[in-house]
């Protein structure tokens, strides 16, 4: 094989993109937007942007694990809504914000575990299992909320509750801290622990992982639990930010999260990708949304531009070609 590798080394754009491409794409995008509208670089706008990104980023961190195992989770948006509704209800019932959040996040993890069990023990394809639970969790959210947003004075007057999504610490929006914290945790978990290694192994070659003594089923369940937990965390930010739990919160969020993961250079086939890439992917989407708004591009064209950007990034990253 050496000869071929050699022949390739001159300049392999695919390889280059996988390593640095997403970052370069992000920088190019930022430069472009800044030139076209100078106020993009206003610190306040950047802080806003980071806050906007935080929700998608958190979901994407979990999605990264899922996709690395070769799976996919379409139910993240519904989990976000359902756990958000639980938390809102708890706050209305007088539960202190901190515990309400904690319970909401754990509930999200439990929903995720359910996905994991269906996939690990039920042997259901992740796509279809989570498509089904997407519908189920969404229906459950409507039933639980009776179709109405959950809101009330106990929420809009509760400082702790509001702080999570709306607050500022040293002038920086609190959700940004949460995003950074979970990025570090996810990064360490994926790249510095055996859990991360097993995640890659599972996606790279599940049979071989099994042979190497990896408990595939257990791993799958944990990975989906993590995805559920992180989606619920994003749900906490959203619920707090809107001071209300919307029954239709998070619809189609899975798509943005998947796009972030893929833009970050992770292969949908599993086994290949970096947490850093996913962070960059989420930022690309965020800059794109924010930038197009600042540039005043009509929402119809925004969709077209967004689709094209995803397409271009993915075409540059032809690594899938080898599969």
């Amino acid at each position: 094989m050496d000869k071929q590798t050699e022949a390739k080394t001159k300049f392999n754009f695919g390889d280059f993109y996988a390593k640095l491409g997403p970052l370069v794409a992000l920088i190019v995008l930022i430069i472009l937007v800044s030139i076209l509208n100078f106020s993009f670089l206003d610190p306040l706008n950047l802080l806003n942007l980071l806050r906007q990104v935080s929700i998608n980023a958190l979901i994407a961190f979990g999605m990264e694990f899922v996709i690395l195992t070769g799976g996919i989770d379409l139910s993240v948006g519904s989990i976000l809504a359902l756990s958000g509704a639980f938390t809102a209800q708890l706050v209305l019932m007088g539960v202190p914000a901190f515990f309400a959040f904690l319970i909401g996040m754990v509930t999200g993890g439990i929903f995720g575990a359910l996905n994991g069990i269906l996939i690990a023990y039920g042997k259901a394809a992740p796509f279809i299992a989570t498509l089904a639970t997407q519908t189920i969790f969404r229906g459950a959210t409507y039933v639980f909320t009776n179709g109405n947003p959950i809101t009330g004075a106990k929420m809009s007057s509760n400082f702790g509750f509001q702080f999570f999504g709306q607050g500022y610490l040293f002038g920086i929006p609190f959700p940004v801290y949460i995003m950074v914290l979970f990025y570090i945790l996810a990064y360490v978990l994926l790249h510095r622990t055996t859990f991360g290694r097993k995640t890659y192994a599972l996606g790279g070659n599940p049979r071989a992982a099994f042979v190497a003594g990896v408990k595939n089923n257990k791993m799958i369940i944990w990975v989906y639990t993590l995805a559920g937990f992180l989606s619920a965390t994003a749900g906490m930010i959203l619920t707090s930010r809107l001071a209300s739990a919307q029954p239709d919160a998070g619809v189609a969020y899975e798509m943005d999260a998947i796009a972030a993961v893929v833009l970050g250079g992770t292969s949908l086939a599993g086994g290949k990708g970096k947490m850093f890439g996913t962070l960059i992917g989420a930022l690309i989407i965020g800059v794109l949304n924010n930038g197009m708004n600042l540039l005043g591009i009509s929402s119809f064209y925004q969709q077209i531009v967004k689709g094209i950007v995803i397409l271009v990034a993915v075409l540059l990253d032809r690594k899938q070609a080898k599969k």
């Binding site: 094989m1 050496d2 000869k3 590798t5 890659y200 071989a208 042979v211 190497a212 086994g271």
Partner: protein
Amino acid sequence: MEIDMQHISKSFGPNVVLKDVNFSVTGGEVHALMGENGAGKSTMMNILTGLLEPNGGVIKVDGQETHFANALEAEQHGIAFIHQEMNNFVEMPVLDNMFLNKEIKSRWGFIDNDKMKALANASLDRLGMKVNLERPIGELSVGQQQMIEIAKSLMTDAKVIIMDEPTAALTENEIQKLFTVIKSLKAQGVGIIYISHRMEELFAISDRVTVMRDGLTINTYKTAETNVQQIVHDMVGRDLGDFYPDRNPKFGDTMIKVNGLTSRGVFKDISFAVRSGEILAFSGLMGAGRTEIMRAIFGIDKLDAGTIEINGETVQISNPNEAIAHNVGFLTEDRKSEGLILDDSIADNIDLPSIDGFTKHGLIDRKADREFVELLMKRLTVKATSADEEAGSLSGGNQQKVVLAKWVGSGSQVLILDEPTRGVDVGAKREIYDLMNELTDRGTAIIMVSSDLDEVLGFSDNIAVVYEGQLMGIVPTATASQESVMTLATGGER
């Protein structure tokens, strides 16, 4: 350590693989396990290491009845397993592969890469290997990957090492290194279970041989007290006579002629011709570029320069479809990934390259198609319950025959066979040679790429030798010797 497997039985659904097999190994010995493809050798080892659950029988380790829940547990008890199918994570670095699921952790629970690197290097040193541990393992040659698999087992302080066809992808040089290591392991009291289809190897290193067939243990011999004929007889249940059938070729017109084939960085200026009725063997060290040449001829890879003539006509082949249209067939070296659709039926595999010929009014003529498939299955003696059986459920030898049937059926006049007998047992090998004879008798031109020098010398008409992407020469088999071919293959003078 002493392992004793007694009265092991195992079925997969209706398929009874093991009826009553006994096998044992003691510290300090090399015990070879022999049997045809699908005899159940790997299955025995999977049972030993907890990857499969036996239906019956007991496993005793040092006299104690034992049952491992999984491979990791077996390894922790000192049994290392070098698998036949490489269990690699091609995208992951070599280091991560070597330590998967047994990473060394620092005090804080994080992975300690430095410690792991030191250990890995120490083990690779024993095999005289130098590898960049950060590289994705998939970028290494199959041989190197196999060596790493062996290095992995050396890291574990194993008391018994199972080697399931460890040399299938190794070069002569690497095989010798492996044998040196095996000898030193033996001296340290490590027991080795050795599985291989290469007869010469077991006579080189084993102390005992056990042969299994039809789910039963046929015999266990001291290696020094038996011979090849005896073992082959036990394996296939009859005498095979000569290992290689005679060649009585009648050469006709030139069927394929290539000129100056070049693919930058892979091979350069390759020219040769094959006549109707001829077997031209391609010999060379592993990684010499033979497979790449054949892939380029067949239109899978791109050529940078050169021309191809078929039946005297210059042709352009830019994909396999066009090669097939010119009656070229190609049995790929890796039948699982490129030769077969494992989930599809035998029938669907065999007729795939020919299917366009079976349309009537735009629809598939199913009757004609079925007759075609059944004829081929019979002709190649594919052992299967029916043409509808999944190709993936066949034994290796039978899978190979299905791939051959596919190319015989497509009417190949030029047939490229890349390692046609690799991993195939002696009985099936013999059947493949007989078939090749019959094809050449009917005028087919065959190109046989083989890394088995015995086979090259024993069953071809001319031998082309490739060294580092260059054709060193073509010699008539009748005048060739092991030494002369090896000299060319290692870049010696022409």
